[in-house]
Amino acid sequence: MLKIKDLHASVEDKDILNGVSLNVNAGEVHAIMGPNGSGKSTLAAVIAGKEEFVVEKGEIFLDDQDISEMDPEERAHKGIFLSFQYPVEIPGVTVTNFIKTAINETRKAKGLEEMPASDMLKKIKAKADMLDIDRKFLSRSLNEGFSGGEKKRNEIFQMAMMEPKLAILDETDSGLDIDALKVVANGVNKFRNKDNAVIVITHYQRLLDYIVPDFVHVLMDGKIVKSGDKELAYKLEEKGYDWIKEEVKA
């Protein structure tokens, strides 16, 4: 589904990604781990099309279509969803109105009619219930004054509403207590099916107990330096990253 080949990206003339290659197939969950500042969020943002980052070299394919030149909204229409590490506050637009706009704009781009209001309401209710989201919450301004955990839960709510092909979750677990973590993980697991895929970016093995990855990759200095199965995550949790650095040097 997603094929990234030798991706190099920079911001303000600073190289951040130095040759990332990654293949994600439908039905898979990939975890990306790595120390702070290694380029995880940058990789996510480059896949989502953030214009600040310049792709110097390499390819990003979604279903055999090169998306590296596309606008962020076009990529969203093709089914890419990024759950932000730091969701942005948008005062004056409620959660409900934002998600309605996002869904209908996406449908419009695909040449579909707007979703009938009653269907929309039903869907909002179902997804909000699944994620333990209070009704009142939905009429608040998007992310404004939300706690860290509320912001993350709201990101997963939007993912559940938009039903993307590829969901990239950037540190969705940070700021969540264990109960909230379970709720969010449950939301992600319910969303998963054989036709979509998930990339989980995290610092902690903890989340991966609930969203079990098929592959774990370690990103360091803008490069994937090691890949393995879920056992790799346990090893990182236990031993940290230094041993990988040694391995890479050797």
Binding site: E73, F84, V88, G92, V93, N104, E105, Q158
Partner: protein, 437 residues
Amino acid sequence: MSLKDKLLSSYIAFEDHLEEDSPIHDIRNEAIKVFEAEGFPTKKLEAWKYTSLNSLLKENYSIFPKQDHSLEFKQVKKYFLHDVDTYKVVFVDGVYSSFLSETTHDKIDVCLLSAALNKPKYKPVIEAYFNKAAKQDSLSSLNTAFAKEGAYVFIPNHKEVEKPIEIINFSTGNEAAIMLQPRNLIVVGENSHVQIIERHQSLSGNAVFTNSVTEIFAEKRAYVDYYKIQNDNTNASLIDNTNIWQEQESNCRVHTFSFGGKLTRNNLNFYQKGERCDSTLKGITILEDKQHVDHNTLVHHIEPNCESHQDYKGIFGDASTGVFNGKVVVEKEAQKTDAFQQNNNILIHDKATINAKPQLEIFADDVKCSHGCTIGQLDEEALFYMRSRGIAKKEARALLMYAFANNVLESVKIPELKVRINKLIANKIGVRLGFEL
């Protein structure tokens, strides 16, 4: 002949026609002297530093409309509210249109200033209030000198006026260029409530120069809700002088929506003459092309325990220019004043400019005064966030602007008006609303 000279010579002819015993005969004569001495304000004056009237003064305006131009209701229907019943005081090229109006004398007076000036039974009100709140500066004085028509609203004590009042000044374009000087007098008695919507609307591309003066008197515990819709044609300019006198525990709110016009100057002055008054001044300004809007506000806290709330939002596109000059004066006696002022602006294009200047003059020591001013661009991070959720760039920008301006609407108390303004904003910004905020 300069416009000033033309006005001065017109005044002589104008005064000749008026009855000698007019209650405002002397007031007029004093006023024209002020205008004669001071003339039109220039950029040399501190208060007019960023607003030049030069381009307006070049036109050859007709000062008195030559004939009464009638309009069909269907031509102007869209400028009125529809779903609510309203009183209407409507002028066409400065002349009262009885056909388009709906006035009343049933317990309250919603009618014409010309009637109030000429009929003896109104004389006590005119003597008590006329020109008492208006500033004595040159433009207000010019209006006073020529004052003969406008809305007259008198609400006795303990009356809740159930219908909003619409005051609309149309100009037809039948004159190549026209100068209008409406004069409104509004007196709201103790415990009484009133809602007023005011609009100036040109129906052609011809030049219109309006120099309007409105005096509002809110007696004890009166509640006045005033909405100004400034969405005029690109060749219409407005100098609005609105002066509000508040007695004890009165609550007055003015919302100014500035989306149109060539040049608009809002001189909005609040005077708190009694304790525990509450004043609200809110505005949304959205401009494009070379439009210019200058908000010049004054809140004069004279008595203790009063509040004022100012919240102005501006979005400036193309080469438009904005000015916000918000002055708050707190007199020594006005202890426990709570004065809040906020002015936030977004510049969408490089050529747009805003000059913002809050001025606080505080002579009391136990007060809460805050002011904040921001000038910024649209938040890039927010734009990326919205785009990554499938909302196209143009829509995302529009939605952000819309959301930025929109919270000012929360305090609009007439639901249909709120929807109308909402639509005007959406239109102006180019956002296609799939919902109502």
